[in-house]
């Protein structure tokens, strides 16, 4: 057991700390994470290697060798001082890694730089009304007509489609091939004629995702990642990793600390809620879980650094346990506040700028999105514990 990262990393950590001390005031405030301030901050972070760290310089990144310890130190220090750690979104978190791994030289040159600079916003067109958990059942059709794909069909739950410049989209290009072998991964401009985006209001009261309709949308043939029919592998190349990062323990730690502060300041009948043994025990129970998840994450990190080490099921369980834990944690804060916990938007009694309700709902979304909790349990039991697969259900024809 050796939890130190070594002296060279101490130097690196103090560089990050110094950077934050000198620059944190330039970070974007509030929720406007797409404005100019956010883009300027992103540029500064890339120049210093604090985001897009391993993306090659020629594509606009910092160009460092992969070093997961440095990445972790950056994440830890930014989360400690609660400073915005750079632009996110599906373009940066999903498409860029996919292109780096499977894209052509031209695609990398064309898309990566504007995406990481926040100039090109992407949406992910995977789910359809008939293909959610069973994503490979998707039916949006792409038919080759000369040098163009012609796309017809519908996507749903497309986050940010209403503001996206481009979409990365799974389509069925080989209707006669087996389910998983007939899919292709296409990229196209959201301004292409034939695309209609209808916002869907979600439980937060805002429209964050959409229905996206395609009618004879014509896409140049070369705007495909991987080969025809390889789309399922392309999409899965990074899906597993993405799942592991949805609910990091760092952030859960920051949130539980904020919850302790909240319970010290909130009162009922003049008594602080932290002094109420019932609520306090609920808090302590969650603190145990956050702690367990932090140490689980150390094990994941360690198994990456030491290839001989067996990670057990530590990676496979993080999406399920991490998202459920965050939902519970935000929910306890609401319970602690009672009716005040219901406050929303312009309510003058709002606490923490409304973050508790917002995150409570957001994490329910993450419990469902990215592979539901039930799908995670299927994966854990079948791939993790080696239990038999579900017998196939043949549709009567």
């Amino acid at each position: 057991m050796d939890l130190s990262f070594g002296p060279e990393y101490d130097t690196f950590r103090s560089e990050v700390v110094t950077f934050l001390a000198n620059n944190a005031d330039k970070a974007p405030q509030g929720n406007d994470l797409r404005g100019q301030a956010a883009k300027d901050w992103q540029k500064l972070l890339i120049e210093n290697g604090y985001t897009c760290r391993t993306i090659p310089k020629k594509f606009g990144g910092y160009g460092a060798e992969p070093d997961i310890i440095k990445s972790r130190i950056i994440a830890e220090e930014f989360s400690k001082v609660r400073v915005h750690s750079g632009l996110g979104g599906q373009g940066i978190s999903m498409l860029v890694p996919t292109l780096l791994e499977m894209g052509t030289q031209e695609q990398k040159e064309q898309f990566i730089r504007p995406t990481i600079m926040g100039e090109m916003v992407w949406c992910q067109g995977y789910s359809e009304p008939g293909a959610g958990s069973d994503l490979a059942a998707l039916s949006t059709a792409a038919v080759l007509d000369g040098d163009e794909w012609v796309i017809n069909g519908q996507k749903i739950w497309t986050s940010t489609a209403h503001i996206a410049d481009w979409i990365f989209c799974l389509v069925r290009s080989e209707p006669d091939a087996p389910k998983h072998k007939g899919i292709s991964f296409l990229l196209f401009d959201m301004k292409t004629p034939g695309i209609e985006v209808r916002p869907l209001v979600d439980m937060t009261g805002h429209a964050n995702f959409n229905e996206t309709f395609f009618t004879d949308v014509r896409v140049p043939k070369h705007q495909i990642v991987g080969e025809r029919g390889q789309g399922w592998q392309v999409a899965n190349a990074i899906l597993g990793h993405e799942r592991e990062t949805l609910a990091p323990a760092n952030t859960a730690q920051t949130r539980i600390n904020a919850l302790v502060d909240l319970m010290k300041s909130e009162t009922a009948d003049g008594a602080r809620l932290i002094d109420n043994p019932v609520y306090r025990d609920r808090l302590m129970k969650l603190q145990s879980k956050v702690m367990a998840m932090r140490f689980n994450e150390l094990r994941v990190l360690s198994a990456r650094l030491n290839p001989g080490q067996d990670p057990g099921l530590s990676r496979m369980i993080t999406k399920l346990e991490g998202t459920e834990l965050r939902h519970d944690l935000e929910g306890l804060a609401i319970d602690v506040m009672g009716e005040i916990g219901l406050a929303y938007e312009d309510n003058p009694y709002l606490r923490g700028s409304g973050s508790w309700q917002r995150e409570y709902m957001f994490y329910l979304g993450l419990i469902i999105g990215g592979g539901t909790s039930q799908i995670q349990k299927n994966i854990i039991s079948e791939r993790g514990l080696g239990m038999p697969r579900e017998p196939k259900f043949e549709k009567a024809s």
């Binding site: 130190s4 702690m291 080490q309 039930q374 993790g384 239990m387």
Partner: protein, 356 residues
């Protein structure tokens, strides 16, 4: 950076597991549950150096760390092995060494496996009923409940002030009565003290704390082993038991029960490792991690014990597969050295979230 067991630790684990596979299978545990003793198991473990783990080399021990003790405890829990490990090999040496006194002879006896030291701490953690320990001028009066183990040669007793005293099991003023509990894999006793000679080991509450902390981490590790074994048994059973012409493990309700157990239990392993490591290496985090680990393992194991039993159907409820021994081991571990609610309260006090 390496968060995990070293090669030596993996070897230790494999050796202890191999010994217990051969020498403490369920049938052997049943003999103990029916009134037999654990002498041969303990003697065999002594040959592997288990009682000597935490005894310093100068006193004839091996001088390993709390994490190593946790690793062994996990093996013992997995095999629901009857041994005096917790008191004799974990808590007693910790107290004797931390006290700073000269206990060379006793420590050497512990390391050799010839001295068993029991522990009576319940009254200093949460007094129940009329139990109470009082010491006046090196004489002990009163009563301790649920001291372990039943066959000890001497006992480490904590009084109301968290002072630690050593008493001999053969003192004429000591009465030792077996207390039957649901957990038949370890025996606990009531100790009544009528003018018993008490050798004061420490009046420093930090010695009591250090002893309690390592005891809690070892119990948590024992629980981890027991719960993991229940999960493994449930998964195996679900793969081979058939109903409706298919293995019950292909039913999603059953799979999800197993996945939930695994998802909750997997982080517990990292937690136990960290807690063991922290006791020796991270003084600021040791105590609070010990509390949380004890409490969290108790909660997860309660869920696993119930669910794994359900996966076995009626068979889980019978004595035939003996799953109930693991169920009850988890249940006893939950209450020993502090029930989760009280331990979490201690964690809150330790953080200054609330005053005592």
């Amino acid at each position: 950076m390496q968060f995990g067991l070293s090669e030596e630790q993996i070897l230790l684990r494999d050796n202890v597991n191999r010994f217990l596979d051969d020498n403490s299978p369920l049938d052997r545990v049943r003999l103990y549950a029916d009134g037999g003793d654990d002498a041969d198991i303990w003697a065999g473990l002594a040959e592997l150096g288990v009682p000597a783990l935490l005894v310093p080399e100068e006193q004839g021990g091996i001088g390993l760390s709390p994490l190593d003790a946790a690793i062994v405890a996990e093996c013992l829990g997995a095999h629901i092995a009857p041994t005096p490990f917790l008191g004799t090999a974990v808590m007693a040496p910790t107290a004797l060494v931390a006290s700073g006194g000269d206990h060379d002879e006793l420590l050497a006896g512990i390391a050799a496996g010839t001295q068993r030291v029991g522990v009576a701490f319940s009254e200093a953690i949460k007094r129940r009923n009329d139990a109470r320990v009082e010491v006046r001028g090196e004489r002990m009066f009163g009563k301790s409940l649920f001291a372990f183990d039943a066959e000890a040669d001497s006992y480490l007793v904590a009084d109301q002030h968290k002072h630690l005293h050593l008493i001999s099991a053969s003192d004429p003023g000591l009465k030792r009565t077996h207390l039957t509990t649901v957990d038949k894999t370890r025996r606990t006793v009531e100790l009544t003290y009528d003018n018993v000679e008490a050798q004061c080991i420490s009046t420093d509450s930090s010695v009591f704390d250090a002893t309690l902390d390592i005891g809690r981490v070892a119990i948590a590790a024992d629980t981890l082993g027991a719960a993991q074994s229940m999960l493994d048994q449930a998964v195996e059973y679900a793969k081979q038991r058939e109903q409706f012409n298919r293995p019950i493990g292909s039913f999603q309700a059953v799979k999800h029960m197993c996945a939930e157990m695994a998802a909750q239990l997997e982080p517990c392993r990292s937690m136990v490792w960290f807690a063991g490591h922290a006791l020796a290496e991270l003084p600021d985090e040791g105590r609070i991690t010990a509390c949380h680990t004890k409490a969290h393992l108790a909660e997860v194991a309660q869920f696993v014990a119930k669910t794994a039993t359900e996966v076995h159907g009626g068979m889980g409820f019978t004595d035939l597969v003996g799953l109930h021994y693991w169920f009850k081991r988890c249940g006893a571990n939950r209450q020993w050295l502090g029930a989760p609610e009280f331990v979490r309260q201690e964690a809150a006090v330790l953080q200054g979230i609330v005053s005592d």
